[in-house]
């Protein structure tokens, strides 16, 4: 490998997200591997906690701002900030600037920070221009488009493009892959009956697709769908898309039989 003096590897701050941190560290490791394979240096600031969505979507602007400042201060030194979650990335990229609009001290600083924020898969394809991965996986997968990633960040083609490069993997699209899974943060516990109705339609579509595996880019959605699939006794394997792209599918899945 030639090392040029004038360029160095981009320094990426990995925003693990609280759900990955607490419930599925393997996604964090998969994300780190993908980012490193793309030619970056990965850093995981230890003081990271939460992007602030729970507070933000509950109307607690004060705590949200405090958390946003914490995140910006912790991550702004990096060239890029990458999160394996469409909703957390959208929070940092689209919503933080709303919090600081008109704020003389933070508006510009936030804008500079938010410009560097990317969701994991779209970072690989759109910033690092990765068009294929080396992973191999025999079987079929269906992909759920998480709402924030899709509608706030335009993520739809990118995961499918990289999944298409996984040797042996067939993509089986489900009906209404771009329709909400019913998670919605606190919505799923506050309005659990309605959430259940929505996720039940989603699991029916997932099953109907005939795929061996369910993938998505957001842990909230995945835990919601996996939890429902498990309760229904379904065998389909559920993983975060990063795990498949990184070729790290030997850990137990979020739900399902696993290999």
């Amino acid at each position: 490998m030639t090392v040029t003096q004038t360029s160095r590897r981009p320094r990426v701050g990995l925003f693990a997200t609280c759900l990955v941190d607490l419930f599925r560290p393997s996604v964090g490791f998969a994300a780190a591997k993908l980012i490193e394979d793309a030619g970056c240096e990965v850093f995981v600031p230890m003081a990271q906690t939460c992007c602030g969505q729970p507070a933000y979507n509950s109307g607690d602007r004060k705590d949200t701002r405090a958390l946003a400042i914490q995140v910006i201060e912790l991550f702004e030194e990096f060239d890029y900030v990458v999160a394996p979650s469409g909703s957390c990335a959208a929070m940092l990229k689209k919503h933080y600037p709303e919090l600081f609009k008109g704020d003389a001290k933070w508006e510009e600083r936030c804008r500079r920070f938010s410009d560097k924020v990317f969701e994991l898969v779209s970072f690989l394809t759109d910033v690092m221009f990765i068009s294929n991965v080396e992973a191999k996986l025999d079987g079929s997968a269906t992909y759920h488009d998480s709402c924030s990633g899709l509608r706030e960040l335009g993520i739809q083609k990118q995961p499918r493009k990289l999944l298409a490069s996984v040797e042996g993997l067939e993509i089986k699209e489900m009906k209404d892959s771009d329709v909400c899974c019913g998670f919605g943060g606190t919505f799923c516990v506050k309005y659990s009956d309605i959430s259940n109705s929505i996720v039940s339609k989603k699991t029916a579509n997932i099953t109907e697709s005939g795929a061996d595996m369910l993938l998505a880019g957001d842990m909230g959605c995945l835990m919601n769908m996996a939890g429902k699939l498990k309760r229904e006794g379904a065998q389909i394997e559920v993983r975060h898309v990063a795990e498949v792209l990184a070729g790290m599918t030997d850990t137990a899945p979020i739900a399902g039989s696993g290999k």
Binding site: R24, G28, K33, Q48, D60, S148, C180, V189, A255
Partner: protein
């Protein structure tokens, strides 16, 4: 309409268990969405027209006082009368007065959400005047004593069998043995029954999709022709419209019309788009002798200049609720407000107070589908979040939720404490999960575990493991 928004949760539970309703709601999911997509896809300029519609409405709203004055001047020049109603009560009294002066005993109505908003029908009946809904969907629900469950398809929550039952029950002058199994037969029957009512009515009341300032015209957009018969056959035509319905010019109206029907039902144009200006002219063989416009404020003027101003761009197409996963699950009546779905969740608190409609902006996953299809680019999730902020400021959210989120934020803002607390919690949950790594029930999280398993964590947090690997020099 009886306002039951505070009981949204109970309403929703009832709606989810209602088999007939769930069957009918499938028509919303499968019908409207595909049709809108086809219509939008067939017009390359569709998205550019949405932008333009938003800009036209924004310009109008920031000059609303002047356009309203210009509008009134044109209506008067054409021989019509404009009445200004600050509240729903004022509007009702004005309309009653007009009906009384016309000696009206029955009044035909074109479909009008604004008259639902001000509870006009009950008020007229209380004063001895019989309103007759002529829109087929509105007529059906009037027979049932119900209110609309959707702003453009009022009877979307009903099945054909229910309609048949109602027609048999009410149209007692017809042969009880008649065959009503085909929808066509129901339509012909309604057409026949209502045709007579048009001729009997003294006053015809319609809403307006648009009010055109340039010409003093009111515009109604229908498929049935009922609005047109309502406004042409009565001696008096009354238009009831809220102040934000104003558009400056005929061209501005034409621009927005292009996205209205396509967003609502997927038609390029609705069957009848009718511009009415003043009473009949001396040479006209038909038409009303009097033309009145009742302009209603009822809270809109307070929304101007506020963070909810964008909601006034709404053209009542219904696309938002047609695409909403929550609406698909519970239907319109569950919202307990004249305006359901995403647009209702923003507008209802603005018109009726957030303390009375606290559930509505909360019953959303913020999936954003509504905003993505709104022809006027109204940022619905953002405004629902703004209502949540107002609830939080006023301590209207349930105490447990506030407390729980407060605890989370407390720890999240203190990274060292967070690390300690979360690693303990994660260890505990993974023990609970056992060898099969699932948690079937969890105190304090019954909202989740009632319907879903909770996948158990891996035992150590990511940050812990990463730090450990770095410490031992292992590659990530």
């Amino acid at each position: 309409m009886q306002f039951t928004a505070p009981h949204f949760k109970e309403n929703a539970v009832g709606a989810l268990a209602d088999v007939q309703l769930q069957k009918a709601l499938k028509n919303v999911e499968t019908g409207f969405i595909g049709k809108r997509a086809l219509a939008a896809g067939a017009l390359p300029e569709f998205d550019a027209l949405r932008d333009r519609g938003r800009d036209i409405k924004n310009h109008t709203l920031t000059h609303l006082d002047l356009y309203l004055e210009a509008y009134e001047e044109r209506v008067t020049a054409a021989g019509g009368h404009v009445h200004w109603a600050e509240t729903g009560e004022d509007a009702r009294n004005i309309i009653l007065d007009i009906c009384r002066k016309a000696g009206a005993k029955t009044v035909t109505k074109g479909k009008s959400m604004i008259t639902e908003e001000i509870n006009l029908n009950d008020f007229l009946e209380d004063h001895g005047i019989q309103p007759v809904e002529t829109d087929l969907g509105e007529y059906i629900i009037q027979l049932r004593g119900e209110h609309p469950s959707h702003i453009i398809a009022p009877a979307v929550h009903l099945n054909k069998e229910q309609v048949e039952e109602d027609f048999r029950r009410v149209h007692t002058h017809l042969d009880p043995q008649r065959d009503l199994t085909a929808p066509e037969s129901l339509l012909s029957e309604a057409r026949e029954v209502l045709r007579n009512r048009y001729f009997q009515a003294d006053v015809g009341i319609t809403g307006a999709n648009f009010l055109v300032a340039e010409t003093g015209s009111s515009v109604i957009v229908t498929n049935e022709g009922n609005g047109d018969l309502t406004q042409t056959l009565g001696k008096v035509h009354v238009v009831v419209a809220s102040i934000e319905k104003i558009v400056p010019t005929l061209e501005d109206c034409a621009q927005i019309l292009r996205v209205l029907a396509r967003s609502a039902t997927g038609q390029d144009m609705s069957v009848y788009t009718t511009f009415s200006t003043g009473p009949k002219r001396p040479e006209d063989p038909d038409g009303p002798d009097e033309y009145h416009v009742v302009l209603l404020d009822n809270g809109r003027s307070s929304m101007l200049g506020s963070e909810f101003q964008d909601m006034l761009r709404c053209i009542r197409c219904g696309a938002c609720m047609n695409h909403c996963p929550v609406y698909h699950s519970v239907g319109g009546h569950a919202y307990g407000s004249v305006y359901p779905g995403p647009m209702g969740s923003v507008l209802t608190p603005a018109l009726f107070g957030i303390e009375n409609s606290a559930h509505l902006p909360n019953a959303s996953t913020f999936c954003g589908r509504c905003e993505s299809v709104c022809p006027m680019h109204i940022p619905l999730p953002k405004m629902m979040r703004r209502w949540r902020e107002k609830e939080f400021e006023r301590h209207l959210s349930p105490a447990t939720v506030r407390w729980g989120l407060g605890v989370w934020a407390f720890f999240a803002r203190r990274p060292k404490l967070y690390r300690v607390a979360t690693s303990a919690m994660v260890r505990m949950l993974s023990v609970l999960g056992g060898s099969r790594r699932r948690i079937g029930s969890l105190p304090l999280a019954s909202g989740w575990t009632r319907y879903r398993d909770m996948p158990a964590p891996e035992g150590q947090t990511f940050t812990q493991q990463w730090a450990a690997r770095k410490a031992t020099g292992k590659a990530a």
